[in-house]
Amino acid sequence: MTQTVEPTHRQLGMTDSEFDSVVRILGREPRPAELAMYSVMWSEHCSYKSSRRHLGRFPTEAPWVVVGPGENAGVVDIGDGWLAALRIESHNHPSYVEPHQGAATGVGGILRDVFTMGARPIGLWDQIRFGPLDEPKNRYLFGGVVSGIADYGNAVGVPTVGGEIGFDPCYSGNPLVNVMCLGILKRDQLVLGTAGTPGTVAVLLGNSTGRDGIGGASVLASASFDNESREKRPSVQVGDPFEEKKLIEACLELYTKGLVVGVQDLGAAGLSCATSEPAGRAGVGMEVDLDAVHVREPEMTAPELLMSESQERMMAFVDAANVEQVLEVADKWEIDSAVIGVVRAGDTLTIRHKGEVVAEIPAASLADDAPLYDRPRARPSELDDVWATEPRLPDDLDLADAVLRLLDDPAIGSSAWVHEQYDHMLFLNTIVGPGADGSLLRVKGTNKGLAVSTDGNGRLCQLDPRRGGARLVFEAALNVAVIGAEPMALVDNLNFGNPEKPEVMWQFVESVAGISEACESLGVPVVGGNVSFYNETEGVDIYPTPVVGLLGLADPVPNEPPRIDRAEEGMEIWEIGPEPTASLAGSSAERIVLGTLTGRPTAPDPEVARQVIGLVRELAHTVPVLHDVSDGGLAVAIAEICIASEVGATIELGDPSLLFSEDPHRVVAVFEHGAVEPPGDIARRIGTVGGVALTLGDATIDIATATDAYREAIPRRMTS
């Protein structure tokens, strides 16, 4: 029997033609360390080789954009001398392998992307999706991910002020864990990921380098998932929020003192990335000495040192004259530091280990010459049939029972079980925290507030990725408008299946188009994002699940921002926005009552969207309650107001399809009679607050019963 040994490049996940490109670039066979570097840098996760040519579709420009896509985080100008930095990142595959540490290190990674820019991180948002909670495995994953985010976020000292929770069987073998971070900085503190000019010194800060997570993010996140994934377990990384907290404070002190030329975090692809990217960006070369790297384990090889994804490390580029001071700051904060390299003229990245040159490559080639694929695309053939089948509620539907079932759904019910495990109050900025439509953080010393909403909806995007993608943006915009903010910039996290399947590529490109069109219509630039492919298990892809994070600026912050717990006996209930159609395609009612996924979601209307967003933003300064209509439609939106305000309501409308419709651009407003006069063509009165029950046409739901269902939706499942 002959045993065939896979060539090294294939073991590292590289195709034969990618290997040939390396040979062509170098004009020779790569050395082992060089091959290691190309393999991680050219992985799907780091190179965006399947997605890059499509991401160019995003609109990225606006007068307030300071840094667009391409750096570690996007940066926008919010006035008064302040900038905001934002980015979103996924940790889907690591979180399936080890939910607690996978989620924790995801938080650590996104924080580094933001404080790399010179910003102090002030808020985190998590978007997490799992299979149904009646399966023990999913409860384990959900509980582990939430405790991982809590452990890391709380201890690192950055509040988690919002997010999203979803459940669907398509995520059972592949949960989604996305995290967004927002930071603020003074204009003159902006730092970029550049290596600077020849003579600049590279200082590695923070954790020691170990074998943990060798090729972790890049390999795990760049291939399909199957039972072999168990074998990849040694690549699990353990987060150390304490080290990261010290690293944040040390870096911020370096920025305030003006001691760095550039900074790059060490995330996926570790040292390979943190040397080649900054050098490539600056158009310089670099000499690196791996023997200077502080290590956790003895006898590490050069490829291991270059591929390790050990957490909580940063690379600072420093003028030679400032090195002493930089090391002192590191000492003060009790973090390790090591001078590991120096920038050289030219474009060659030379890496030495034990006195020998182990790599000598054009620095920019790792990023710039990465393969670029135009993968085939095909519209799923069954889509016409799916669109032709409108979901219809049964004529004998028990409306009250259906509303209670929706409120008891863990994706709709109260998120308190999750967000009360997160410190969401640190820094005294949280004016509107988790559990509301969007979050609102004040910017101290100004009248401004930063509003953020994150939104994803795999079901809508499965039915129509273009309309779905666009509707996410409009929904996020409405969510920041209800707290008085104007949409300003967007980051996106594109969670998709296997890009080698033409249907998945089609979904991807359609979603990008939908998000782009909506952003263009609102004048919102995309300033950064992330792509996560290969979210499939045993050949079955997840629903296409792009997630958007929208930053809005409230200027000024409303004196009393609308909240859903401020409805009072006798107030009027209005619906603002277009009259809904009876379409239930992709809605929560379709999922919970019918258990199907069919029909074509209603198209968004950019003109109406702009009108409603503008109107709502003004109302946010005067109206006590504003709540956007989303999951569960009008019925759930009003029930949530009643539950939070501990009061009943009467709605004349009794048609379940209209009450459960999730058609876009709609908001519920509650206010005293005559307090405001919303324009009649876009707003209509639909009911009155009062009593102890919610009455929808002929159906009556006791608020105490509704409250129970809503509050217990997650806890009763997690403690069963």
């Binding site: 405790s147 809590a150 452990d151 709380n154 201890a155 690192v156 000292g157 150390d240 929020p241 304490f242 080290e243 907290k245 010290k246 003060k332 904060w333 009790e334 308190a416 967000h419 009360e420 495990q421 997160y422 410190d423 969401h424 109050m425 640190l426 820094f427 005294l428 949280t430 004016i431 004040r442």
Partner: protein, 214 residues
């Protein structure tokens, strides 16, 4: 009258405490845990966070920081010393307060506004409050469950609804003299109505009043 706000590696509420004290007209300054001279200060606050990552046990490593010698001296002299959340845990580990803090009954981190009732007004935290008075301040801890096998501790604030299993529903505890107090919920997080409550000011005012020689 100056308050030292002690910053350990891993502390994260220090700036919030400075802001809260300053907003009330007090004067607060950060001191690093390696500082060894607090002679310019009239009192100290050990703020919340995760000193040394909460590794080993919460507060266990922090209590050995060089600055603690000065905290002991202040406590000894009768000056007001307040530990908030992680600071409370450190004061227990240091033996300046009785008992210890263990994991919450339900083994989950709890961050939410809670209601507490004033049980004792003869302390630097509650001297401007009245017994039985109820106030709302945010809890934010995993190890907030106070146990005291000696049953000697003076309970200063009690939770109205027991969130974490704390003995005698204690939310704040004092030493015999009443000048060293540990409080698990965060008064500095309840200083503006737009943050959900401004009841924390009552407690911080008590502390500031105590800085003046009696």
């Amino acid at each position: 009258m100056r308050t030292a706000v002690v910053q350990f590696p891993g502390t994260n509420c220090e700036h919030d405490v400075v802001e809260a004290v300053t907003a009330l007209g007090g004067s607060a300054e950060l001191v690093w845990h390696r500082d060894t001279d607090l002679s310019d200060f009239d009192g100290a606050i050990l703020p919340g966070g995760f000193a040394h990552g909460d590794y080993l046990r919460t507060g266990a490593i922090a209590r050995f920081s060089p600055v603690m010698t000065e905290v002991f001296r202040l406590a000894d002299s009768g000056a007001p010393v307040l530990g908030i959340c992680n600071g409370f845990q450190i004061l227990c580990e240091a033996g300046l307060l009785p008992g210890a803090l263990i994991a919450n009954r339900d083994l989950a981190f709890i961050c939410r506004l809670v209601e507490v009732e004033v049980a004792d007004t003869d302390t630097v935290l509650t001297r401007t409050a009245t017994v039985g008075q109820r106030i709302r301040i945010p809890l934010n801890s995993y190890e907030g469950n106070w146990v005291d096998p000696t049953r000697r501790g003076r309970v200063v604030l009690r939770y109205v609804d027991d969130p974490n299993g704390s003995q005698q529903q204690a939310a704040a505890v004092a030493n015999d003299r009443g000048n060293v107090v540990g409080v698990m919920p965060h008064p500095e997080r309840a200083i503006h109505d737009f943050l959900g409550s401004s009841d924390g000011n009552l407690l911080l005012e008590g502390f500031l009043h105590s800085l003046a020689p009696a």
